[in-house]
Each structure stands twice: as structure tokens, then as C-alpha cells.
């Protein structure tokens, strides 16, 4: 075995091992502690888990490519909320009154376009001003949230379209609509990052930006495309979720960026960019949702989830560092 293989294996397989551990723990602990009669690994329960993972999971796929590219996006929660409003509100606009149910695809397209546009704005600012993505998206996180409030004040925006609800609640081959969206997005982003020139260049930029620039890769457009993709995915996440719920509060999506980043980091994406796997992020998303459900299952306060996830995030970071230490000879700075 080559040196470094063990640590690589640990790093790549860790999230699935963690998920297995969670499953075993909650199954066993559930036998003794659970208030409900149902087993934890019940099929319905697991299907629900996938469905509930979808809103965070879809955005997490976008965050993975942003972070692989060496950036970060804190504004996803606000984009999510704006797109939800566009989705629900546009269905009531008088100009679309004659469309009947055909308003649904129109509203979807509008919402998705809004997401792409907001993402593009972030990307354009990062590209053209050279301000760090952390600051740019910290700003737009506030700014976009302001737009959400400006739209309808502090009132919720509601519109329930039953055709839409039926669609969202449908199950195909046993999986919910939302689950399908999550799976399709995961597959599509995996394909993008592993099979296209854009994806490979995005890895190269995050890995060694100077080398990428010297090789003639245009950093700016790639970054902007990735911001547009995460905007699109935040919008898609809103489409999937609000098609069913039909009502959006101006505070919705707050703290989503934290959950999303947690999932991505749990999945092993490198903070400095260049490394990360879409499939592992999928694992990270499942692990978080599993933890939420599992803790509820064994009767722990739902509040404990935050505590546990925060600490796990730190432990993961610590382990990652320990695996990367080069030995005692290293310069101590």
C-alpha cells in the first residue's frame, strides 16, 4: 500500500462510515429509547428522509462546486427566499390569468431565472471588482434579504395551486418528487464536474490558481458560471419546496447557508478549494438529515441537533488536520 492511501481512504470513505454509524446507533438506541413503535430504518421513514434532505441537498450541490472553485456563497438562503416569492407571486399576476395551469411552468421559469440572475450578479461582482467572495456574498446576503422584505413587507406571500401540490406530493417509483429532483441534480452536477471542461477547469482554478491562469484558463467566467449555477439551484430548491407548501415567510431560508456549508464540509470538500466530491456532499446532506431524524427518534430534544452538528463539524476539521500533518520535521509556523 502506498503511503497516504490509508488517510485518503479514510477521508473519502469517512462520510459513508459516519452514516452507517448513525444508522446503527439510532437503530439500537431507538430500541430502548424511542417512544414510537416504528423501527428507525423503516422504509417510509427513509423515503421521507430523502425528501426532507432535498431543499438543503440541492443547494449543497451548488455550494460544493463554488467551494471547489475556491469561493463561498453566503447568500443562498436569501436567493432561495426571493425565488420562492417570485414563484408563488407570479402565479397570481394578471397577465398570466388566461394561462390556467400553464402558469406553472411559466412561474417556474421566472423563479429559476431570478435565481440565475442573482447568482450572476454575485459572480460578476466577484469577477470584476476582485473583492473576496466571502465579503461579496455576505453583503448580498443582507441585500437580497432586504429585497425579500421590500417585496411584501413582513407579510408572508402565499398562493396554493393544487395541481402544483399534487405534483409535489406525487411519488414516482416510490420516491417523492423532491427526492427525484435531488437525485437528478446530484447526477447532473456530478456529470458537470467530472465530465466537462468547465468542471475540470473549476477544479484546477481552486487547486492552483496561478497554474490555471498561466495555462490560459479564464478564471472569471468560470467563477461567474458557478455562481449562476448555485443561484439556479437555490431557485430550484425553492421551486421544489414551495410548490408543496404554498406560503413563504420573508425569513425563510435564513441560516440555510450554514446548513449547506456544514453538509459540504462534512462531505470533505477542501476549504481552500481544488478538492471535493459531489457524491460525498450527498453523503454529508444525508448525514445531517439522518442526525436530525435520529435524534428526534430517540426522543432527544430537537435542539440537541445543533449542538451535535456543530461539534461534529469541529471534530471533522480536527481529524482532517491530523491526517494531513507531515511529521515532526515540519516547520513550526
Amino acid at each position: 500500500m502506498k503511503p497516504g492511501m490509508l488517510s485518503n481512504f479514510l477521508k473519502r470513505g469517512a462520510i459513508w462510515g459516519f452514516i452507517a454509524l448513525e444508522l446503527i446507533f439510532f437503530t439500537v438506541a431507538g430500541e430502548y429509547l424511542s417512544l414510537s413503535e416504528k423501527a428507525f430504518m423503516d422504509v417510509d421513514n427513509m423515503l421521507l428522509l430523502f425528501k426532507q434532505s432535498a431543499p438543503i441537498g440541492i443547494i449543497a450541490m451548488g455550494m460544493t462546486i463554488i467551494m471547489i472553485n475556491g469561493n463561498i456563497d453566503l447568500s443562498v438562503g436569501a436567493i432561495y427566499a426571493i425565488c420562492a416569492i417570485v414563484l408563488l407571486d407570479s402565479m397570481t399576476w394578471p397577465i398570466f390569468a388566461g394561462l390556467g395551469d400553464m402558469v406553472i411552468p411559466v412561474a417556474w421559469v421566472l423563479a429559476l431565472l431570478a435565481g440565475v440572475a442573482l447568482g450572476a450578479l454575485n459572480g460578476l461582482i466577484v469577477w470584476k471588482t476582485g473583492v473576496d467572495a466571502f465579503i461579496v456574498t455576505l453583503g448580498s446576503m443582507l441585500g437580497y434579504r432586504g429585497l425579500v422584505f421590500m417585496y411584501n413587507g413582513e407579510q408572508p406571500t402565499s398562493h396554493l395551486n393544487w395541481t402544483l401540490v399534487d405534483f409535489a406530493e406525487a411519488q414516482f417509483l416510490g420516491l417523492h418528487t423532491a427526492t427525484w429532483f435531488l437525485l437528478i441534480v446530484t447526477a447532473a452536477i456530478w456529470f458537470l464536474m467530472n465530465r466537462t471542461v468547465h468542471g475540470r477547469n473549476a477544479y484546477a482554478i481552486g487547486d492552483n490558481r496561478e497554474a490555471a491562469v498561466n495555462a490560459g484558463i479564464r478564471v472569471g467566467p468560470h467563477m461567474m458560471i458557478n455562481f449562476m449555477i448555485i443561484g439556479f439551484l437555490a431557485a430550484l430548491s425553492a421551486v421544489v419546496f414551495y410548490s408543496e407548501s404554498g406560503s413563504v415567510n420573508p425569513n425563510d431560508g435564513e441560516l440555510y447557508e450554514l446548513w449547506v456549508i456544514t453538509a459540504v464540509v462534512l462531505g470533505g470538500t477542501k476549504l481552500t478549494g481544488g478538492a471535493g466530491s459531489i457524491i460525498s456532499t450527498f453523503g454529508g446532506v444525508l448525514a445531517i438529515q439522518l442526525l436530525r431524524k435520529g435524534l428526534a427518534h430517540i426522543g432527544a430534544d430537537t435542539e440537541t441537533v445543533n449542538l451535535v452538528i456543530g461539534l461534529i463539524l469541529i471534530v471533522v476539521l480536527f481529524l482532517d488536520r491530523q491526517l494531513n500533518i507531515k511529521g515532526k520535521e515540519e516547520l513550526k509556523v
Binding site: 496561478e210 490560459g216 481544488g274
Partner: protein, 503 residues
């Protein structure tokens, strides 16, 4: 060769940086199928010249001619498109990507819809790799390769285009002997295809083995070209170091005091092994060797930045353990580090604050920093070292290299150390400031400091040292007194050749 058109020709290239004329009318040419060595001491302008050729810098004057066409290269990409490929000494690879992706970085073969044509990529890459006879394939992750193999990936990049000229910058620095053989085969192969090769190296034996001609740079100027077959190491060395340059050995010895620092059998993993030496107060000991010989690592170990794996350090006869720079400072050791901007200075801070940084805890008036005391320390060393700055409020980042270096030296002198270690004290500094710093180092010894000077420049070590320690590959090869040292035996010792003559 006279009938042929050169593959690449440079005419009167001038490149200046603020305060330095890095290249001063350099002209030289490389023929198709020729291996042309470019030699010169550190700071002679080789790497600047290569950056001009690689499209990273723009020359201020002069022109570059590829084939018969004068060209302007605004980026490394343009240089590559013109057939000039630069194999970097510092690897510029994306470690998480595969070998194939790195070789074709920025030019991945495409299918429709922006998809990567993996089959074509792999095929082309494996074809290149097979000519290099390496033990890995297109799909290997670059981060999993050894440094030597990563170097091979860099070299493979040169083979992706129809190269007119390929520049190798110290390609063998991290290669084993077996790997060198492969590299030389590759170079021969390129040669037979009519590619002109520019080969930069310090290692004489390689130069004489594979090159056809040798051009020498010194102080940014072109000093001549020699036919390899008709010359010898001595002539080349002479041209490189130059008679004009003061190569005099240090002859004034000060009265030596007690042994200030003694090191016995010190080792640190594979970085250096079984190193023993002593430095007396009033003495300057020079450490000379190639980059990577382990000199800087010894200094870092003495300064508490690395943990030794074996051996003892004795200060004034007492064995000590040094766990951190703070420890080292408390025990009277100071280090003027190699990387002025990265390790020596906080560029965004003013001159005074940089200078008093190590002792800021001791300069107190009540709970506050005694700014008056700080200013007087700054004034004292500004006068003593002749630091030219508008005032102490000036940000260090705005000073010239020489003045920055004096700030670092002043910072450590003001700590009144018993042992002062200076690592590459004049790197990137103009000639005038260099001799000032050399005189300063001699003065310090005269005042009773024990001084260690680490340098890659031979005139420098010859000039300032009472004794010279020659290092090769993590070991001390020989220690010379300034009476017995010659350029010749010194160069041999640091090339690992003088082993049989070692004391």
C-alpha cells in the same frame, strides 16, 4: 552551425525593476537541436531572463526572435503558442487532478457540448508518458506522485506542443540518479527532433555531460559563450564569478573568544544528518552549499522552528533545548531569515514597529508600549546601518530591498544576541548595499558576536567568513579555514565531489 537559423534568439534584452537593473542588454541564441546551458550565480539574472522568455515579464528593451519572426509574448500561454515551453523549477501543478489533466491544463480536448474527450486525452497523454518511460499513467492523481515524478509531469507538458525551444530550470534538483538518466534521454530525444534546449543548472557534471554550448550571465549582463567540448570547469567558473568581482578571502581575523555555540551530531529527519560544528564569539562561520543542502533547516532548528531528531545544541558550554523562537530569543539566538518578505517583516507595519517587534514586551512604560524608547532604538539602528527612509512611520513594504534587509538586521541586532544567524543576507539586493552588509557582518564579529552566515553566493562566503562549512545533501562535507579555501575545492565540496578529500 553558422548556416542555420537559431531556434530562438534574444537581442539586447533589458529589464529593470525599481532600483535594480536585472538584465542589462542580454543577447544569446539557441540553435535547433542544441542543448545550450545558461549559467550564472544566484542573482545573475537567469530566472529573470527565463521569465521574460516565458512571457511572465515584458522586457523594457530588446527583442525576442523565434525562428525568423520577432515576437511579443504577453503571457505564458502566448509563449507556449509560439513554441517556447518553460519547465518550472517550482512546480505549477494542480495536485488533485490527474496527470493527463495537468499535462493538458487549459487545453483539454473537447467533444460536443463542452465535454472532455477522455479517450483522446488519455491516449495522447499515455503516448507522451511512454516516451518519458515513467512508471505512472494518465489517470494517476498528481498529488500521489513523488516530487520527481511531478517534475516529469511538468516535462511532459513540453511535449504537447510543437516546441521550438524548451527551457529547463534546474530540472534535476529533486531527481534521483536513475530519474536523471531518463530526463537526459528525453532531452536527447527532443534534440533529435530539432528542438532547441536551454538548460539552467548549477551542477557542472551535468552541464559537461549534456550541453553543446554554455552561456554565462553575471550581474545581469551577458559574459560570453563557450563551446562545451573546448572548455573546462575552471574556465566556466572563472567566467561565472568573474575576476572583476572581489573574490578576496577574508583575512582579518578578530580575536576569538569562548565557544558561543556548539552543535554535536544534530539531525532532523532526512533534512540534515549528523551535523557538528562550533562557532566562537568574534568569529564568522559561513555555510555554503547548493539550494536544498540543508543549511536553512539547520538555522531553523537552532531557532526553535524545527524539532531535531537527534543531537545536542550547546550554548556557552551548556546543553539547551530550544522549543520555539521565543525560547531561542530568550537564550540569545537571533535569526535573520532567508525570506525577507515572508518571514522577516510585516510589510503592512511601519519601520519602527517592525524593528522592535521581538522586544515589544520589554519596552513598556506602565502597561503601554514605550514609544519614545522604540523611536530611539529605531534612530540608533537607522544611523548605524544607514537605513534610508523618510521616517519611522514609513511602511516597510514601501522600502527598497536593501533597506528592508537592514531593518531585519537592525531588528535582531537590537536584541543584542550572543549568536547571530544570517540566512542569505544579500539576496535580491543591489551591489552597493551588498558590500555594506558584508562590512557590517565583519564589524559585528569584531564586536564579539558569534555569527553564522548562510549563503549561496561564493564571493559572499569567501568575503565574510573566518571559516567555511561546505554542505552537500544534508551533510557537512568539509570545513575550510579562510586560508585553505579556494574556489575550486569549495565548489567540489558542495557538489559532493570532494568527499574523498574531506577532512
Amino acid at each position: 552551425m553558422t548556416g542555420q537559423t537559431p531556434a530562438l534568439r534574444l537581442e539586447g534584452i533589458v529589464k529593470t525593476f525599481p532600483g535594480v537593473r536585472a538584465l542589462d542588454g542580454v543577447s544569446f541564441e539557441v540553435m535547433p537541436g542544441e542543448v545550450h546551458a545558461l549559467m550564472g550565480e544566484n542573482g545573475a539574472g537567469k530566472s529573470t531572463l527565463m521569465k521574460v522568455l516565458g512571457g511572465i515579464y515584458q522586457p523594457d528593451e530588446g527583442q525576442i526572435i523565434v525562428g525568423e519572426q520577432p515576437v511579443v509574448m504577453r503571457s505564458p500561454l502566448e509563449a507556449k503558442a509560439k513554441g517556447i515551453v518553460f519547465i518550472h523549477q517550482e512546480l505549477s501543478l494542480a495536485e488533485e487532478l490527474t496527470v493527463a489533466e495537468n499535462i493538458y491544463l487549459g487545453e483539454l480536448p473537447r467533444k460536443r457540448f463542452g465535454l472532455v474527450d477522455w479517450a483522446k486525452l488519455e491516449e495522447q497523454t499515455n503516448a507522451i508518458l511512454s516516451t518519458l518511460k515513467v512508471g505512472f499513467d494518465a489517470k494517476t492523481r498528481v498529488g500521489d506522485l513523488s516530487i520527481a515524478n511531478q517534475q516529469m509531469v511538468e516535462i511532459a507538458r513540453a511535449l504537447t506542443v510543437d516546441a521550438k525551444a524548451v527551457i529547463f530550470d534546474e530540472p534535476t534538483a529533486s531527481l534521483t540518479d536513475a530519474e536523471k538518466v531518463v530526463l537526459f534521454d528525453v532531452i536527447t530525444d527532443l534534440q533529435s527532433r530539432g528542438v532547441g534546449i536551454i538548460y539552467i543548472s548549477h551542477r557542472m557534471e551535468e552541464i559537461f555531460k549534456i550541453t553543446d554550448r554554455i552561456s554565462v550571465l553575471r550581474d545581469g549582463q551577458y559574459r560570453g559563450t563557450l563551446q562545451t567540448a573546448e572548455t573546462n570547469e575552471e574556465d566556466v567558473t572563472q567566467l561565472m564569478i568573474g575576476r572583476a568581482l572581489d573574490l578576496s578571502r577574508n583575512e582579518s581575523h578578530h580575536e576569538l573568544g569562548e565557544v558561543a555555540l556548539e552543535v554535536r551530531g544534530l539531525s532532523c529527519g532526512h533534512l540534515f544528518r549528523d551535523v557538528s560544528f562550533e562557532v566562537r564569539s568574534g568569529e564568522v562561520v559561513g555555510f555554503y552549499g547548493l539550494v536544498g543542502a540543508g543549511r536553512t533547516e539547520i538555522a531553523e532548528t537552532l531557532f526553535g522552528l524545527r524539532d531535531p531528531s537527534a543531537g545536542q545544541i550547546l550554548l556557552s558550554g551548556q546543553e539547551v533545548r530550544i522549543h520555539s523562537p521565543a525560547d531561542a530569543i530568550a537564550k540569545g539566538i537571533s535569526l535573520v531569515p532567508e525570506d525577507r518578505k515572508g518571514q522577516g517583516l510585516v510589510l503592512g507595519m511601519n519601520c519602527r514597529d517592525n524593528m522592535t517587534l521581538p522586544q515589544v514586551d520589554d519596552l513598556k512604560a506602565g502597561p503601554f508600549v514605550a514609544e519614545g524608547a522604540e523611536v530611539s532604538i529605531f534612530d540608533q539602528y537607522r544611523d548605524r546601518l544607514d537605513i534610508r527612509t523618510p521616517g519611522w512611520k514609513q511602511l516597510v513594504g514601501n522600502l527598497s530591498g536593501g533597506n528592508q534587509q537592514k531593518i531585519v538586521i537592525g531588528k535582531w541586532l537590537s536584541m543584542h544576541p550572543s549568536v547571530l544567524i544570517v540566512d542569505e543576507p544579500t539576496r535580491g539586493i543591489d551591489v552597493g548595499s551588498k558590500s555594506e552588509i558584508h562590512n557590517l557582518i565583519r564589524d559585528l564579529a569584531a564586536q564579539g558576536y558569534a555569527v553564522i552566515v548562510i549563503s549561496s553566493e561564493m564571493p559572499e562566503v569567501l568575503h565574510v567568513s573566518d571559516r567555511i562549512v561546505a554542505m552537500y545533501n544534508g551533510r557537512i562535507m568539509r570545513t575550510f579555514t579562510s586560508e585553505e579555501v579556494t574556489e575550486d575545492n569549495l565548489i567540489q565540496a558542495i557538489s559532493g565531489l570532494g568527499g574523498d578529500r574531506a577532512a
